[in-house]
């Protein structure tokens, strides 16, 4: 027993009592179950386990604080609809927005933010962190932090482009299929069946081997792989819109296909499509990382997180945290995007569940 452990439990129990007194039910449940869990974990794992819990709680609190502050900031900065929407957004969503914004800034201003170039060798292999290098160096002695920042630009950029391309392809085909029905619909559905029945990693492997690895081919192939999923969703969503009376009215007016799609169907299908965009973005991201794992990713010395994870993945077996940074960067972004997507889905469904 030392002061830390005593303080730890005192704080938890005190906070539980406070929560109970002010009958904040969920907070009390959380705090008290944390206390109980701590007893068990503390007995098994000792003081270090409690430290871990404290640090996790601290990080969580920091995230919540950031999200809260960012929400207030956005409410003040934005105007009209935006401000109103943000005001009621859950903290997870604003946290997601905050992360996405951070990444965007990192990506756009990478050369300004990163202290060194992405290929610049400045230190020895795996040099530890010092005042020059925030996160230390990688195997070639390049600054890990700089590469992370540049990786944001490259990895996110490629994933974003590929997803966009997939959406343009898939959504367009889906909209046309839903509107026209009949032969085109059947044809596209078969094509999609074919593409989807070949496992995506194998598909990518074959195509990349045939066409060679460069960023454009990569984007193109990923788009082909993911377009069918977008197609299916768009077709389903647009299928619900197409039966609406206003579509019937437009058809009876004699409107053409393009008008129907552009003015009548698309505006009413955007919400689920945007949500899907977020999800697909994450999957694309993971696919790029997976392809990098198989050595079919982005050209060196361009920094991309997938390759960075792969390059250093074996270090994790020795408890080194170097590979955790890019993996964490991937996970953080996908989680953030999904937070925002969840929120948007919630808003678009109007479900107050």
């Amino acid at each position: 027993m030392n002061y830390f452990v005593i303080g730890y439990y005192a704080l938890l129990i005190g906070a539980s009592c406070l929560a109970a007194y002010y009958s904040v039910r969920s907070a009390f449940l959380l705090l008290f179950s944390l206390t109980l869990v701590s007893f068990i974990v503390g007995i098994v794992g000792g003081e270090s386990a409690l430290w871990t819990i404290t640090i996790c709680a601290g990080i969580l609190a920091l995230c919540i604080g950031t999200a809260y502050a960012f929400r207030e900031f956005l409410v003040i900065v934005l105007w009209g609809e935006g401000s109103k929407a943000i005001k009621t957004a859950p903290l997870t969503a604003t946290f997601g927005l905050f992360v996405i914004m951070t990444y965007a800034i990192a990506g756009i201003f990478a050369p300004i933010i990163a202290p060194y170039g992405e290929a610049e060798v400045i230190a020895g292999a795996f040099a530890p962190a010092d005042e020059n290098m925030l996160l230390g160096a990688d195997q070639l002695g390049r600054d890990l932090f700089s590469r992370l920042v540049f990786g944001a630009r490259n990895t996110v950029g490629i994933a974003l482009l590929a997803t966009t391309f997939a959406f343009v392809l898939g959504a367009l085909a889906g909209l046309i299929a839903a509107t026209l029905g009949g032969f085109f619909d059947n044809l596209m559905s078969r094509v999609v069946d074919v593409i989807m029945s070949v496992p995506s990693l194998i598909f990518a492997l074959l195509l990349l081997s045939i066409m060679g690895t460069n960023a454009f081919v990569l984007i193109f192939i990923i788009a082909i792989i993911y377009a069918p999923r977008v197609f299916r969703l768009t077709r389903a969503v647009a299928g619900n819109v197409v039966v609406m009376d206003y579509i019937e009215a437009a058809r009876l007016r004699g409107e053409g296909l393009w008008y129907l799609i552009r003015r009548e169907i698309l505006p009413n299908s955007t919400a689920p499509l945007i949500a899907e965009f977020g999800l697909e973005f994450c999957f694309v991201f993971l696919l790029v990382a997976g392809l990098s794992f198989l050595g079919l990713g982005i050209q060196p010395p361009t920094a991309d997180w997938g390759s960075m994870v792969r390059e250093n993945a074996t270090l994790i077996s020795f408890g080194e945290i170097t590979p955790l940074f890019p993996a964490g960067a991937i996970a953080l972004l996908t989680v953030a995007v999904n937070f925002v997507v969840d929120w948007m889905l919630f808003r678009s469904s109007g479900l107050k569940g």
């Binding site: 290929a119 020895g124 195997q139 990349l208 690895t213 050595g295 270090l315 994790i316 077996s317 020795f318």
Partner: protein
């Protein structure tokens, strides 16, 4: 230096040596440095550090890299490292490279040549037998070699035996190999991993399909790309084979290999991930073997394609690479610097020429001389060439910047690299396995008319010397010739050889091996299964 300190040092070194971390040569070196006389040091080695006599027993579980589902028993198509490890375990060869990198007998007990080295006679081991029980005879040896010859042969070793005009059976246990031109290295060639001994069919072909062999262990169960279970072949003709059984598992993922060793699921693994080498070495239960080898990384430049057709450009590119930095960062000090000629210190006839070093200024000078300031070149590579190949080229590009050379690194697909990039792109990166003698290596990739003359280098004097040296049985003269050839390749040739990579593999601490380790393949010349033993 006090006696007390010296004794401590010797004791500690002895412990290291017993664990196999210190070779006899190193032990002697350090012991003498510590003030012990040579003879005394030798005595110390025998008394303190000499390894315990090999013990028999146990199942040796070996994790190998680069195993493929499509591997086969056909020695002509042996390719993956995994199958090479296996081949040396269940089959045998006429000759072998010993742990001290000398030529030793295997299925052939002795050999001799005519003076012009055009006819070689091999006397086969009399007691050797196949796993099936069939005795090993001259017919089997001849059929096994002929498998790699002739019109219809699909063997990758065909080129190796192209000078062989005939193989005749002198008696049941003697064969004679006849050559078109003299070759002093023929017995060395017989160590090539393709030339495994297989049982002959009556029509003179071999039965490779059954997986039978004359090696120390026989296959009990095998699934290519997955693993093989073997047990000792009691009728083996050689020494060793201390383990009762061997289990080889294909562990392609470097992390999986290391984890398996750390968790004790295997007793030895090939090819360590160099990044984590230092971390792995901290583990007291694991011993790492770091063996200098003849395996080289080369970067051939087409000498008939601009800008590489200019010798100054070639020189500038050779000077613009910081070999020390690459060895440190890419191989983590598990390589020895190359000197732009393809003879490693572990090969016979190695000439001790001055080491070329990183000199961007001198590179600039050569560029200026060639009128190629602000040179830009494309360098092709792929991850599969060598672990860290892409990183290495990127690092090279960084080094070259200081000399005003701009190198664009192109990562090519792993798949089909050797068919689409190598010999096709003017500047690329290649990994060469160890070859037993300089002649084999130089004839293969530096001879003017060789199919794999990867740099398209043509040098009359070099080619002349190559032919002379090949048939020269006088060692001194031969060494002198190789020295001159090395000088030519170093200063005029089109190949940058940044380094000779070491074999780095690991074993559990209860696995022991002899004083030296062969430099021909990983795992003691791929013969760990028959040479090593369990210590406790």
């Amino acid at each position: 230096m006090s006696d007390k300190y010296r004794d401590d040092l010797i004791d500690r070194m002895a412990v290291e040596a017993k664990r196999g971390r210190l070779s006899r040569r190193d032990f002697m070196h350090y012991a003498m440095a510590a003030g012990v006389t040579a003879s005394a040091a030798g005595g110390l080695w025998t008394s303190k550090a000499a390894l315990a006599a090999p013990k028999r027993g146990g199942t040796f579980r070996l994790g190998t890299h680069d195993g493929n589902t499509s591997d086969t028993h056909d020695p002509g198509t042996y390719l993956s490292f995994s199958i090479i490890q296996l081949a040396h375990t269940y089959r045998s060869y006429l000759t072998q490279i010993t742990p001290t990198n000398e030529l030793g007998p295997d299925a052939a007990a002795s050999w001799s040549a005519t003076d012009d080295a055009t006819e070689w006679t091999f006397k086969l081991q009399k007691g050797a037998s196949f796993h099936s029980g069939k005795p090993f005879t001259a017919d089997d040896a001849i059929a096994s070699l002929n498998h790699h010859r002739g019109e219809k042969s699909t063997s990758a070793a065909k080129a190796l035996l192209k000078d062989v005009t005939d193989i005749v059976k002198d008696d049941e246990h003697t064969i004679t190999v006849k050559l078109a031109t003299g070759n002093a290295d023929l017995p060395w060639l017989m160590t090539d991993y393709h030339l495994a001994m297989c049982p002959a069919n009556s029509d003179g072909t071999i039965d490779w399909q059954s997986g039978d062999g004359t090696g120390p262990y026989k296959i009990v169960h095998n699934e290519f790309g997955v693993g093989t279970k073997l047990e000792r072949h009691d009728g083996w003709h050689g020494e060793g084979a201390y383990f009762d059984a061997v289990e080889m598992t294909v562990l392609n993922d470097p992390n999986a290999r290391q984890t398996a060793l750390v968790t004790g699921e295997v007793d030895g693994i090939t090819q360590l991930e160099l990044k984590t080498l230092s971390l792995l070495q901290r583990n007291p239960n694991i011993l790492v073997d770091n063996v200098p080898s003849g395996a080289a990384i080369t970067m051939p430049m087409f000498c008939d394609v601009a800008p590489f057709d200019n010798v100054d450009v070639r020189m500038a590119l050779k000077l613009a690479i910081d070999r020390e930095d690459i060895i440190k960062k890419i191989t983590f000090d598990t390589a020895i610097p190359g000197n732009d000629f393809h003879i490693s210190p572990n090969m016979p006839y190695w000439p001790d020429l001055p080491q070329r070093t990183y000199d961007p200024d001198k590179a600039k000078f050569h560029l200026k001389k060639a009128g190629q300031e602000n040179l830009t070149v494309d360098l092709s590579t792929a991850d599969s060439v060598y672990s860290g190949a892409v990183d290495m080229c990127v690092l090279y590009a960084e080094h070259a910047k200081a000399a005003g050379i701009n190198i664009n690194v192109n990562r090519e697909p792993n798949d089909g690299y050797y068919s689409e990039v190598w010999l096709k792109k003017p500047f690329c990166m290649v990994q060469w396995g160890a070859r037993p003698t300089p002649d084999v290596m130089l004839s293969l990739a530096y001879k003017d008319d060789a199919a794999w003359n990867e740099s398209h280098w043509q040098n009359e004097r070099f080619n002349e010397l190559l032919l002379q040296a090949k048939a020269e049985l006088d060692q001194e003269k031969r060494a002198e010739m190789y020295r001159e050839m090395a000088q030519l390749a170093r200063d005029d040739g089109g190949t940058i050889i940044p380094m000779f990579t070491n074999f780095v593999y690991a074993r559990a601490k209860n696995v022991a091996h002899g004083e030296n380790l062969a430099a021909s393949w990983q795992m003691d010349g791929a013969r760990a299964c028959s040479r090593w033993w369990f210590d406790s």
